[in-house]
Symmetry: C2
DNA sequence: CCGTTCACTTACCGGTCGGTAAGTTCTGGA
DNA sequence: TCCAGAACTTACCGACCGGTAAGTGAACGG
């Protein structure tokens, strides 16, 4: 079954919004990517805002799938969260796009939420807090404390993910490769330290 | 001495670019903020691109001042880096704007650098690597390894900084305050762990 | 007093934006 | 066979975009 036009538009929109941001892409640009006119796009998504919302909903669904996968791999909460964070840190095309899009949403969603009142990331964060609170070292801590901890890991992962073009531009391809390996090792250590809540 | 028109335009541009991104702000909007027309702005900065470049240059100068301040406070490299990172993590208006602007630059600068060939963040990162390599635990490590380590801290700090509107929107003001305190404590621990390179 | 330069204005340009209106073409079920 | 609706198209709208052109008035050095 070939992908529907709607799905093709959604995929093109996801990639372009991630790369250039909401205001940096026109709906005509997105439609052209699929070989259509912008009015064809508006036939499927009544407004640009609606299209963007559907993109975010898809992404948040993908994140939840990732979380479900991590839960199914082991019954140990620590291993589950570790698996999930490593999956987020993987740098394939899909996760790169996802990281960039989420970062842009973090930067821009206040104005959008002020008018739309929708926080697409809320369920995702709530699930992370629950996962954190199941760890032996973090059992019983308040939501705020758990979120603060998990947020630092999210930050470390996604900030780096978003920096890839800049860093490889500054460093050059070869030295960026070195950085990438060093980062993976350091990240594993940081994750372990935060999850076990070890101090020093 | 009152601020010059040019400085006023620069300040308004900095705040607006940080809030809405390069494509989200028109030069007319920036000029109006200071009570001028966009042609007055174009008199001081020949193009929008040039204005944006000057904004980035100012920011990178500010970051370097922050670094110099940290160096002057103590002669202990660990205390210096700690001071600098804590200064970056402070959430006053200036640092919030700076974090947002840098994040946007990370997301967008590839296209800009492809044409302009300028990496405003390069000297800043190089200095951080040097500071890192002066720490006892990190003496002699390669640039890549040092950068990987420091980058995780930058990520943790700036990702959180950028999330403020989203998080306080999702959580509400009171619970965001709790989160803020929890984050500060956790961040200090993470910084200490990375700087001392302790494992587990 | 004159000429230049600076700081800024109004008027305007071509182009792009998101969105509307009004068709046309294709498809599948009664 | 007809017809309804889906999936598009072309044509167009007003608003806004970054940037150019040309000029105005005030400050200032000679």
């Amino acid at each position: 079954m070939p992908p529907t036009t709607r799905d093709q538009l959604l995929a093109a929109a996801t990639a372009l919004f991630a790369e250039r941001g909401f205001y940096g892409v026109s709906i005509a640009h997105i439609a052209n990517e699929v070989g259509l006119t912008k009015q064809a796009l508006l036939h499927h998504f009544s407004t640009k805002e609606k299209l963007y919302g559907d993109v975010l909903e898809t992404i948040s669904g993908d994140l939840d799938d990732l979380r479900a996968d991590a839960l199914s791999i082991s019954s140990d909460p620590t291993a589950q969260l570790q698996t999930f964070l490593r999956a987020m840190a993987r740098r394939d095309r899909a996760s790169t796009i996802r990281s960039r899009l989420l970062m842009r949403e973090l930067l821009d969603n206040k104005r959008r939420a002020d008018t739309a009142g929708v926080w697409y990331l809320k369920p995702f964060l709530e699930n992370l807090v629950l996962m954190m609170q199941r760890l032996p070292a973090w059992k019983g801590v308040s939501d705020s404390v758990a979120l603060a901890a998990v947020y630092q890991l999210l930050g470390a992962i996604n900030y780096y993910a978003v920096s890839e073009p800049t860093l490889s531009g500054i460093l050059g391809g070869q030295r960026y490769g070195e950085l990438d390996r060093a980062f993976g090792g350091q990240l594993d250590r940081t994750i372990a330290q935060v999850l076990t809540r070890s101090s020093e």
